[in-house]
Symmetry: C2
């Protein structure tokens, strides 16, 4: 039987970007399926009483260096965007919208946004540059704006965020395999072992 | 040149117990020296604004299971003691006292306390049982009480806790190698690699 992993993500988390760069390779190596679980991390924090680790200055300093070490270990890099922590609400609504519409579009969008933010390709807060990014990747900015303003899309993100919390999620990235939660990009070895079992 | 790792610990942290079960083996494999750094984790939390992860219920539930998985991975086990989180102030004063007096006594004491707590051998809050534990391991309970009441020992623990914070420590276990901080028992692979470099 094919195993699957629920991958809970929000674009605003640097550790989640690192996990994103690896989860596809892990799925390939193990033959597992990925269930993509967009959620609003800010909503998860609020519901669980959790908070970003960077709010503890000493922890934030360590974490920045730690994530750089992991990025190098994975053969990638990570650059904090201007304006971090970002408000990812419109971006996550976009993920929901494409997930509902078209799987190929969804994957293209997720890759585009993660790299725009964490390789500093584009300041996603800049409406003009963000629009140009969409066009460059074959998306229609007008249709995008309509999509993320759709009440069903907005409600779906809220519903998925609530479901994440109900499933025990308190942060990102999170991985659920056979009802077992693994939290953090530093648990990818455990995720891979669980998918091999 | 022999490398060394500063190992910051407090008996009250389950992740630190797991790290304790491994750090000696890592030092043996790499030929590194361990600098033992007792500190009061509660004091570190207070100074840095950090807090125990178990205060977030969903995180605490995941962490309990996560640490059990790691314990099994290391070939040991972990059992939360009655009264967790414990007040480790007298226990950490004991670590300081023996560290100042006698290295062999220090190591015997540290091993005794970690196992008493995390293998639930003794409820360390029970004065009679704690006294019996000391006697069983060849310590003099009267001398122990005198030692932990010594103002120099008390001040030394405070001083070492402040120094830990000045060195960027915000939690336990923490490892400092060549001025680089690694945080968490889940960074022991990084610690070992750093000691091999």
């Amino acid at each position: 039987m094919t195993k699957s992993v629920d991958f809970y993500f929000d674009f605003g988390s640097p550790a989640t970007f690192l996990a994103y760069t690896q989860i596809g390779k892990i799925a390939e190596r193990t033959g597992a399926e990925i269930n993509w679980k967009p959620m609003l991390l800010g909503g998860v924090f609020k519901a669980t009483g959790n908070a970003s680790p960077v709010l503890i200055p000493a922890k934030g300093r360590w974490m920045g260096r730690d994530l750089s070490r992991w990025a190098k270990h994975y053969g990638t890099e990570i650059r904090y965007p201007a304006g971090f922590p970002l408000n990812t609400l419109p971006l996550m609504r976009g993920a929901i919208g494409y997930l509902r519409e078209d799987e190929a579009q969804f994957h293209k969008y997720v890759s585009m946004i993660f790299h725009a933010i964490w390789h500093n390709e584009v300041d996603v807060r800049d409406q003009d540059r963000f629009g140009a990014l969409l066009v460059e990747h074959g998306f229609d900015p007008g249709a995008f704006l309509m999509m993320i303003a759709d009440q069903e899309v907005k409600d779906d993100l809220m519903k998925r965020t609530e479901e994440a919390v109900e499933n025990g999620i308190f942060g990102a990235p999170s991985f659920m395999i056979d009802g077992v939660l693994h939290f953090g990009q530093d648990r990818l070895d455990w995720v891979e072992r669980a998918l091999q079992d």
